[in-house]
């Protein structure tokens, strides 16, 4: 079928949600495809990210409900809580999910090549052993097109070494054998917030240290305030506007020195463990990229255009290694565009300005889901806006669920009604976002959302009310 002499039409380096999805789409389009993976299919997402965290979070949610059991008319003489069961349940789910990916590879006749890939030249990759797994026999594979989907790993503060025992990262935090008494979480992005929620619910004394003024610094200010209120009420200590100066291991645990950015006051916190959740570093350093001429920025992220092409025409890059928006669904969406571009079929490019309209989710309680601009950003960019906000509190379904916090906030362009931002905090926020993101993509405005009849009673009615509020006429207010 091919007029080239390479082994494959497409070789995908990395089998995470970016890579395996790109491979499936390429295979569907009739391209001869292989995936090189050094660890486990499914990447960070299935093995160490999205999936296992959501399993632990659900455990915490059940536990939280049990804590409130009296409200529902239940009483427990002797509630036993076994965290190791939560971990083993989480790992069991991971196992089933990765097997599912392996099945999809087989079904689509995609070759899975185990091992760590290093470029020999811009069309060939040598696959061999690595710190993750040994490989019996090294081999070199070549392809007409290559998709980089090597993902990223946890970053640490300069001079702070993650030892997996007292200074830990997300991989360690997912499989703790014993619960620490006291945990310091550095960084309050999605990962820091999710683990804080889980461990606090399981009775760990949690302190979050965040350098920016609020937790979840990328979210709308009102959303941040709502989450902060809930976290404080749950007993989590929040040190925002605070920089982590030093992390020292002691006999008993760790000593974390922090400094308030404004006042300059320092404080030392003694804890059993500290979780580094300050961001990611791309896996582009041990790849032999120099043999290809592919450009990265100073931090190592690969530059791409709107069809995921790097500066080398036959090499594409997707997912966390591109540093656009480090989320699994973004990696998958990029993978589909890359595969379709290689096959030469119709695709929907993702230009740089599109990324901020892609969904962003944080799964702690209360959940946070958003897309587009925050109110402050919209104003700063000079948009003439209308804002509609509606709380979950009056909603019948929310009350039935026992949810008391949260709201939906919609921001639209005052003139043509284009949705500029959506911010949801509260019950099942992440499940409510797709309606808005579809509307935004299709340029549907709050006026139509308000008139789209939503079933009663559902949480989605709050969305409809927020849309009414943009138009100036919320009903249940």
């Amino acid at each position: 079928m091919a007029t080239h002499n390479y082994d494959y039409d497409v070789l995908v380096l990395g089998g995470g949600p970016g890579g395996y999805v790109a491979a499936i789409r390429a295979a569907q389009l009739g391209l001869k495809t292989a995936v090189v993976e050094r660890e486990n299919l499914g990447g960070v997402c299935l093995n160490w990210g999205c999936i296992p965290t959501k399993a632990l979070i659900h455990n915490a949610e059940v536990l939280e409900t049990l804590h409130d059991a009296a409200d529902f008319g239940f009483g427990f003489e002797n509630l036993t809580v076994d965290f190791s069961k939560a971990v083993s349940r989480s790992r069991g789910i991971v196992d089933r999910q990765t097997k599912g990916v392996a099945f999809l590879m087989k079904k689509n006749k995609i070759d899975v090549i185990n091992g760590h890939g290093v470029f020999v030249n811009s069309h060939s990759i040598r696959v061999g052993g690595s710190e993750y797994a040994e490989v019996k026999e090294e081999r070199t594979v070549s392809a007409a097109n290559i998709i980089l989907a090597t993902g990223a790993r946890a970053a640490s503060l300069p001079g702070v070494e993650i030892d997996g025992d007292r200074v830990i990262q997300y991989r360690d935090a997912l499989v703790l054998e014993n619960l620490p008494k006291k945990l310091v979480v550095v960084g309050s992005g999605a990962i820091g917030m999710e683990f804080s929620y889980v461990y606090n619910t399981y009775g760990v004394d949690v302190t979050i240290v965040e350098m920016m003024e609020t937790v979840l610094p990328l979210e709308d200010a009102e959303v941040c305030a709502e989450v902060e209120k809930s976290f404080k009420k749950a007993g989590i200590r929040l040190l925002t506007g605070t920089r982590t100066e030093q992390v020292e291991k002691t006999d008993a645990g760790v000593t974390v020195t922090v400094k308030n950015v404004k006042s300059g006051e320092t404080e030392t916190i003694e804890a059993d463990k500290v979780l580094m959740a300050i961001g990611i570093r791309p896996n582009t350093d041990k790849l032999g990229l120099h043999a290809t001429g592919v450009d990265t920025d100073k931090r190592g992220f690969v530059g791409i255009d709107e069809v995921m092409r790097t500066n080398v025409a036959h090499i594409f890059a997707i997912g966390d290694c591109t540093g656009k928006l480090a989320l699994a669904h973004v990696a998958s969406a990029q993978g589909i565009v890359a595969a379709e571009t290689i096959a030469g079929v119709e695709t929907m490019p993702i230009p740089a300005e599109r990324y901020r309209f892609l969904p962003r989710c944080t799964y702690c309680q209360p959940q946070v889901a958003s897309m587009g601009l925050t109110e402050a950003q919209a104003k700063a960019e000079g948009h003439d806006i209308k804002v509609g906000k509606f709380p979950f509190m009056p909603n019948g379904k929310a009350q039935a669920l026992g949810a008391r916090t949260g709201f939906v906030k919609l921001i639209s362009d005052a003139k043509y009604g284009e949705i500029l931002g959506a911010h949801i905090v509260g019950p099942d926020a992440t499940e409510l976002l797709p309606e808005i993101s579809l509307a935004q993509m299709m340029e549907i405005t709050p006026a139509e959302i308000a008139r789209n009849v939503h079933a009663h009673p559902t949480l989605g009615e709050v969305l409809m009310e927020a849309a009414h509020a943009v138009e100036g006429h919320p009903i249940h207010m």
């Binding site: 007029t3 001869k32 097109n145 030469g344 119709e346 695709t347």
Partner: protein, 416 residues
Amino acid sequence: MPTPIKMPQLGETVVEGTVSRWLKQPGERVERQEIVLEISTDKIDTEIPAPAAGTLLQITASEGQTVRVGTVIGYIGAPGEAVVTEQPSVGTEQSPVTSEQSPVPNPQSPIPNPQSPIPKPTGREFVSPVVARMAAEHSLDLDSITGTGLHGRVTKKDVENFLGTGDKGLETGKTTPSPQSPVPTLQSLTPMRRAIAEHMERSVRTSPHVMALFEADMTAVVRHREAHKAAYAAKGIDLTFTPYFVAAVAEALRANPQVNSSFTAEGLLLHPRIHVGIAVAVPDGLLVPVIRDADELNLAGLSRAVNDLAERARANKLSPDELQGGTFTVTNHGVSGSLLGTPIINQPQAGILGIGKIEKRPVVRSGGHPLLPSADDAIVIRPMCYLSFSFDHRILDGAEADGFVGRVVQVLENWG
């Protein structure tokens, strides 16, 4: 197997090239590295050497044809060797495509598969509420707008582009001969013209431009230049005024880092290095070659760089990467006689400095009160020059901008 000749990647941002001339015809013998054709891109014209020795077997992109980077434009092989191009396999809907042959899609829009063109959906053209409202307000006929959304849907961006560019569906790129005389003729756009048009339009749309006008007394610079011209010439350097301005700008940029920046939604991107672009007029347009780390060069170094870049720009011998990465631009429009210009920012930079013609003008100098009439006032004749600084008001405010140009003036007036 025949070796394909491909449209090369001539720099990061170049996505396509036009075949200007084949120097060899099919059947002719070529040596490896021998020039076989000339191509032009929106930035540059260049020659393409043969990737292998042999016979030019086939030309697949003829003169005048524009193709994407990576596309095969010809084949070299043994005399008489057959060129195997891919046949779409019968019966399969999507025939697999490989990089060698892949029809390289246009990244700006949904990419139709050349082998199975997507039929234009009829009767179910979706017009979004936002687009409908915009169309109503501007009384637009949506059929005249090219849609870039999935299945050709017209998006808000398409309407904005349509309104912004006034693209009325005119077919450009062809010269329509006037059948009955007094009809305007359409002159086709060169790639460079098109690139300049696109860039200027985008810049004006992106940055709220504000201009600050300063005047510099060039006596010190003229004196210095007169004193050193001969010595420079002996070293093979043509000492012009431009390097003085670049030197003054580099120093002022170092003192005002926010002028050496780019606006992004996330914040101001302050560039750690100072790369100054200089606008050079070339036969069919304008190029802006970049002097890298201009702040690390002395006057001689800057002069050499200016000479070399300007010369090669006019001879069309710059590499595309020499035209990229500038953090600030200087345009010496005075060389063609204008006293004052209002330059448009070279995106994504924060500003551009226009330099007017240096000419002798009467100016007032005073040893007395700066503003009140005084016996020490005198009208003198000095070589004067207007410096017009267009800046992005999202990044800079008047006071900061003035601080920057004031520093440039100060360096020029105190030269030596």
